[in-house]
Amino acid sequence: MSDGNQQPGQEPEVVLLYCQHGLCHEAKGSAWYQECAGLSIRAIMMPCSSKIEVSYILKLLESGADAVEVVACPEKSCKYLVGSLRAERRIEYVRGLLEKIGYAPERVGISRKLSQSPVQLMDLARARADAVRSFGINPMKKGE
């Protein structure tokens, strides 16, 4: 299935929204950036994954992101108890909405991880990129 136009040479742009506790302690406070061959990643730290609203994710896709990966704490480790559970439910809801308008729900995903190194976070983004590659670029980029 394709919901967009696959164009050779265009690598997926992935937005990574991660809970502050998703990043390991050593990497905190330092500006971290990881070069990823063949992939464009924008990583944004959130105070808690529950801060991620459905509208934020849709706006990211509307503005051309090919995929969004949310990194939330495992259920029992969430500092706000139900924050990551809420995030997970919202992601499910967004995926349902995407399906209804003919977009691949795989464009949005969530991982439950704690204290990841920057490299590990990038791997999660890469996995999301791989999951959407077959769907082509985001149809919002058509005619740019």
Binding site: D3, E53, V54, S55, L58, K59, L61, E62, L97, K100, I101, G102, Y103, P139, M140, K142
Partner: protein
Amino acid sequence: MIFAEWKPLDELIDKLKIHRKVLLVGCATCVAECAAGGEKEVETLAPLLRMALKKQDHSIEIITATLEKQCEWEFVEQLAQQVAEVDAIMSIACGIGVQALAERFDPVVVYPGVNTSALTIREEAGLWAARCAACGDCILGETFGYCPVARCAKSLLNGPCGGTRKDGKCEVNEEVDCVWNLIVERADERGRLESLSKFKKAKDWSNSSHGGPKRVIREDLRQ
């Protein structure tokens, strides 16, 4: 609160695709409480519609606004400037808000983006349930605070119907309490069971929608 829910997205997309520029308007009151038509929902539905329309090769601009109350003229007026720029409006307020916009901004076409379906209470996060049907002749005083008009599947005034399940749920929906079971239980708790078997006059439905469109005048409030 007045409860509403989004119409199917296909239906909304179909309405909008013939337009050039559309104003999507929400209301920060009841429909925000039921997570269908507040600012959050406007800012969720707008990108969704833009994405859907773009995918179908329709280039339509969607601008947004959310009024404090879409059923008050003072707030409706705040849209005048934006409405001048568009060739259609989609409102995700209840039917009252939709009609207010249609009346004020005639001849601009106004589409309802939601179906207004009930008067509800939020029982818990993400769960709303009917509590009133605006019958115009409230009988809560005789039914121990439970409304059989809105909460009995058959709107019985002399229930229970006989179909109540063993666990006290309604025969029509196993997830909903039989409201007549609740009424009888509360009457019993208060030692007032006999009050339910008293003869009652037929309910007066003339003050509900059965009596024609409602129109109320309060001279003390008129200018």
